[in-house]
Symmetry: C2
Subunit: 316 residues, 2 copies
């Protein structure tokens, strides 16, 4: 991997060079394309410029596992972002389902235990799996140590853990039984490693990665990570889209997921990460990593304010 130590701030000249240099662009969503339900100004124009005018290929890669690909597609449509199709959208609920089918080779109709939201349930169901746990409202009940829901179903073939607002003691306790069952032999997939995410009004909320860590720590076992920055997730996307690794750029707002994902995955010949400052990373955070920590894997190749700012540079 050849990569300069310092990130390049994107100027008008750099912006043009970037668009010329890469054929394929991977975009994180929250903090990059939108902030919760609000489109980031200029993001839609940039995406249209890349796809319609410059014939570039794009895909969307998010560590959020709560929404299925269909729900993401609806969101793109709601925000009037055009030319996005289902096969361009990679949330970690989808990569979890693909891991089960294509890597673990677990046959359809098998039972999968879920601690997570609808997105995971829907992607598993789309591939023909039978979902146990998840948003099942029986698990909303007050904890009861005598509940049949705490008895392991020996037919369960894998456990998927991700973000869920339905988190409660009953779900955690039931999931723990599966993670410990038969000397911890049921495969344990974690959708992501993000500990928190920014909510409205300055809230910082627990993210899927905190739930995954919680279960891993309580069960004292490792998990298969199918989210950014996992190389297996990147390889899956490149293979699926037919993207040339050397000619692909990842655009994201988070150093330890998006930038690390690109750098560890050798995108763009080691120059494949563009950080935008419109989400979870401030200029101070960036300087801390580039200055004090000097962690190459967290250092973006380029950085800019936002997709809108990038569009402005390209338009002038």
């Amino acid at each position: 991997m050849t990569r300069t130590s310092n990130p390049v701030y994107v100027t008008k000249d750099t912006a043009r060079k970037i668009v010329d240099k890469y054929d394929n662009f991977l975009f994180d969503c929250d903090g990059v394309v939108w902030l919760d339900e609000d489109l980031i100004p200029g993001a839609s124009s940039l995406l249209e410029y890349l796809t319609a005018h410059r014939k570039k290929h794009v895909a969307f890669v998010t560590n959020n596992s709560s929404k299925s690909r269909c729900e993401y597609l609806a969101k793109f449509q709601r925000l009037a972002i055009e030319n996005v199709t289902l096969d361009m959208i990679y949330p970690t609920c989808y990569s979890a389902a693909l891991e089960i089918r294509d890597v673990l080779h677990i046959p359809p109709k098998s039972k999968i235990w879920v601690l997570g939201d609808h997105g995971i349930e829907q992607e598993l169901a789309n591939l023909g799996y039978v979902v146990m746990g998840g948003t099942d409202t029986q698990l909303d009940d007050e904890f009861d140590a005598k509940s049949a829901l705490l008895r392991v179903d020996p037919d369960v073939r894998a456990v998927v853990v991700g973000s869920t607002k339905s988190l409660n003691y009953m779900r955690i306790a039931a999931t723990l039984q599966y993670l410990l069952y038969k000397n911890k032999s049921i495969p344990f997939i974690g959708t992501n490693i993000d500990k928190t995410y920014p909510g409205a009004d300055g809230l910082v909320l627990p993210a899927g990665g905190s739930v995954v860590s919680f279960m891993a720590d309580t069960a004292q076992r490792d998990f298969i990570s199918v989210g950014k920055p996992s190389r297996r997730f990147l390889d899956l996307i490149l293979r699926d889209r037919g993207f040339d690794r050397d000619r692909t750029l990842m655009v994201g707002d988070t150093l330890y997921t998006d930038v690390k994902f690109a750098n560890d995955g050798d995108l763009g010949g080691g120059q494949g990460s563009l950080l935008v400052l419109s989400g979870g990373t401030t200029r101070d955070d960036l300087e801390a990593v580039v200055g004090l920590e000097r962690d190459e894997s967290l250092t973006p190749s380029y950085y800019t304010e936002s997709l809108g700012h990038l569009m402005d540079l390209l338009r002038d």
Copy 2:
């Protein structure tokens, strides 16, 4: 600290020497005196023998924070264990409250945020604090990012996290706001470090320590540990009971809490831990620690099957 490397299996002769040698006996509760709601056979007789016949002093030290001292007292009475008074009972909900009053010097009537059960609420209330969070049923509601419960009350002076069956996303999210508030400056007390505890029918359930770790990990900050094996907890008890460290023995069923508590705390001149095999530790677990791991702090001075077995040895 002088301590033999190998634990001594208690024989009739050792049993008599132990009772002669120590004036004070600290007992863990679950797995030692009782298993859930069942008295461990012989435990009551041993306690009576030590206190009534041999004039020894005893105290009960549990990492469970769910029950207050009054609730523990009721349990001792329910199980017909005699001569136990409130001042002999040290659950970690009590040590958390004492930490707030005597170490952090937070004045009564201050607000304390709790992620935990009634025990913590009651012990804080007993010392005159105003409890926020905890079992407040408003927090049982479905997560709502707009809820006023997620807005930090700037008058909250400390956060206590412990075991709770009421764990849900709303409580976790609200607690996280307090842990992050003002650059993580509100003191954060964790009642214990136990990740799991054994339930009925082979269940393994998430314990308070898993919740404490979860919050520490998500907030990316350390906590003040007021449970076993923390030295501050032991020192508090010895001071409070007027027990001589050199003449005190800790009896417990867990290596990394009870035995470590005694060994790190230099009880009995470095010979102050007695492991019983009636709870969470098997003979295999013990052998793994003594054999392969060779961790001195986890190696008990003595071990025996149960309090009942010890009583049998003393009786013959």
